[in-house]
Amino acid sequence: MAIEVKEFLPITQRHEELGLSDETVLQMYYHLLLSRRLDERCWVLQRQGRVPFHISGIAHEGIGVGAAYALRKGFDIVHPYYRDLALAIALGMKPVEFMLALYGKKGDPHSAARQMPSHFSLRYLNIISGSSPVATQVPQAAGIALAEVLKQKLRPQLEAAGFRVSREMRVVLTSMGEGSTSEGDFHEALNWAGIYKLPFVVLVHNNQYAISVPVWKQMAVKRVADRAAAYGIHGAVCDGGNVLEVYQVVKEAVGRARAGEGTTLIEAVTYRWTPHSSDDDDRTYRTREEVEQGKLRDPLPRLRDYLYRRSLLTQRLEDELEERVRAEVDEAQRLAEEAPYPAPEEALAPVFATEDRSGWWGE
């Protein structure tokens, strides 16, 4: 799965063989489409000067949607990164919840309008707040997973003290770009994951660039997933533009994790054909030809092609979905534009918690 993809790659898996119903695979398409159209709108709003900044998840939707469907939604825990718009959408984030953050408006549920957009955090979906220094979430996610092991090991004491421990472990999924795999945080986390066989999935979006630095200046090994061997964990590679393949590989990893068989490092290969962010100009570090070629990995036309071939999508249904998604994005934008800004002095609090609300207890 190198960077060179010369032609359109049809999806060869069959969704029913992966245990997915027709309705589910169409729902995946809807989530992919909604993420894409929402993302495209954010670029427009930024270029119009209506919002200060956007960092995009375009080209990453196949990974996010595939992963989200492989998890037990509302039970498993996710510690994502800034290209996980589609992951958050597929887990249940509403477009307006993203738009409020994009505009820095009151009611932003991720950070109360403190963080830059795309720093996803939604307690009701088990999405953990992240920061901007990359890879910091990875050892934290390992700690969340270690807590799942501790709950099972310490079940009698915990339940005697009134803490309900679920019958099965929650699986923790964290994601990051391939550039993050150069950080010490990443390596320390995988080391813990191996030692304690953590119920943990480490999902690396290899989009070939860390801002401007290509993957071959980031690592000497051919595959990010090769690094799994050094930590005694499973490694797997999948085509990030093929949502069904991502689903299949993440599903296997989640199954292993829940069964106590430890962590999987997954490399999902894609190509980021947008600039790093709205402040980047990627013409300074790569050719337009390369970018055009990278778009062959686009997960959206590949899933659309699959659905047409399987007679699950028609022109009429596709048009209906486009119309529905546009209306949702319009509505989210309208609500965010109408929402007030926070009062300036809301910047002052809360700094310290006065009560403990941590943890996932019970089923």
Partner: protein, 327 residues
């Protein structure tokens, strides 16, 4: 009341909190069968088992990050950083992550964790087993920073730290681990995080200190008492959040202030105390606010004469008191 050493009081606090709450666990280097290099966790692995006293890989960044994750998922980790000098690889996880989680999630995700670490010089530790790091962290909103000076406070403050819903850095004066003894009640009690304490009443001037320097400040106060200088001593105990009221009330009474700390002088914690006094206590002052700290060099040297030169001690504190009293 039984007399205990500082390290015994710390161990007792951890033991009692682990018995009280099964979510409390210890993670760090050599904390397991060895019981910690300073013996703070002696016997706990044997008593509570390997899942509550976890020998970590030798990796400070992830000792803290694992603690953050476990805290987010309902546990009460006590992360031990073997020496404060080794906390720097975890700086990002403490400052960018633990400290900011609650604020950056709009009050949704709190991180109830304790990071314990021995700090300070005078133990032949050289550059990398002697550092004082409290000022780095006291600067950061979202962190609480606690430094006990005696066994009674150590037990009560550590219990308060473990029960606090926020990240608390708990720095222990390692030179005092066995040197400082005091009465410690058996069983449960709390010393709240926040208030400083007037530990010696006096009228001529106030010495502000914490940790090992507080222990020395009391000795210095006794030395100069024989010369007729009546010193008040304030144990700051909690560096963040700072107890302005106790600081200002003391100087309102005495009119003069000396702040003693063993960190490098410049931009050490004493600078903040001095700024508070200059800004909010100006009308109380009858003399310059003075600081006594370590020299501004990159570390405490190993060689005994150089180490002694670096470290504040009761004699140096007494001399600074005399200078200020004469003003």
């Amino acid at each position: 009341m039984p007399e205990k050493t500082l390290i015994e009081a710390i161990r007792e606090a951890i033991d009692e909190e682990m018995a009280r709450d099964p979510r409390v666990f210890v993670v760090g280097e050599d904390v397991g069968p060895r019981g910690g290099v300073f013996r703070a966790t002696t016997g706990l692995w044997q008593k509570y088992g390997e899942w509550r006293v976890i020998d970590s890989p030798l990796a400070e960044l992830s000792i803290v990050a694992i603690g953050i994750g476990a805290a987010l998922n309902g546990f009460r980790p006590i992360c031990e950083i073997q020496f404060a000098d080794f906390i720097h690889p975890a700086f990002n996880q403490i400052v960018n992550e633990a400290a900011r989680f609650f604020y950056r999630s709009g009050g949704v995700y709190n991180v109830p964790m304790v990071i314990r670490s021995p700090y300070g010089g005078g133990i032949s530790g050289g550059l990398y087993h002697s550092q004082s790091v409290e000022a780095f962290f006291a600067h950061v909103p979202g962190l609480k920073v606690v430094i006990p000076s005696n066994p009674y406070d150590a037990k009560g403050l550590l219990k308060a730290a473990i029960r606090d819903p926020n990240p608390v850095l708990f720095f222990e004066p390692k030179k005092g681990y066995r040197l400082i003894k005091g009465e410690v009640p058996d069983g449960d009690y709390i010393v709240p995080i926040g208030p400083a304490k007037v530990t010696r009443e006096g009228s001529d001037l106030t010495v502000f200190a914490y940790g090992m320097m507080h222990y020395y400040a009391l000795q210095a106060a006794e030395m100069v008492a024989k010369e007729g200088i009546d010193v008040e001593v304030v144990d700051l105990r909690t560096l963040a959040p700072v107890d302005k009221e106790t600081i200002l009330n003391s100087v309102k009474k005495t009119g003069k202030a000396l702040i003693v700390y063993e960190d490098n002088l410049t931009l050490g914690y004493g600078a903040e105390v001095a700024a508070i006094l200059a800004e909010e206590g100006f009308e109380y002052l009858d003399g310059p606010v003075m600081r006594l700290g370590g020299p501004d060099v990159p570390g405490v040297p190993f060689s005994p004469p150089m180490q002694d030169f670096f470290m504040p001690n009761p004699q140096k504190i007494a001399e600074a008191i005399r200078r200020l009293a004469r003003y």
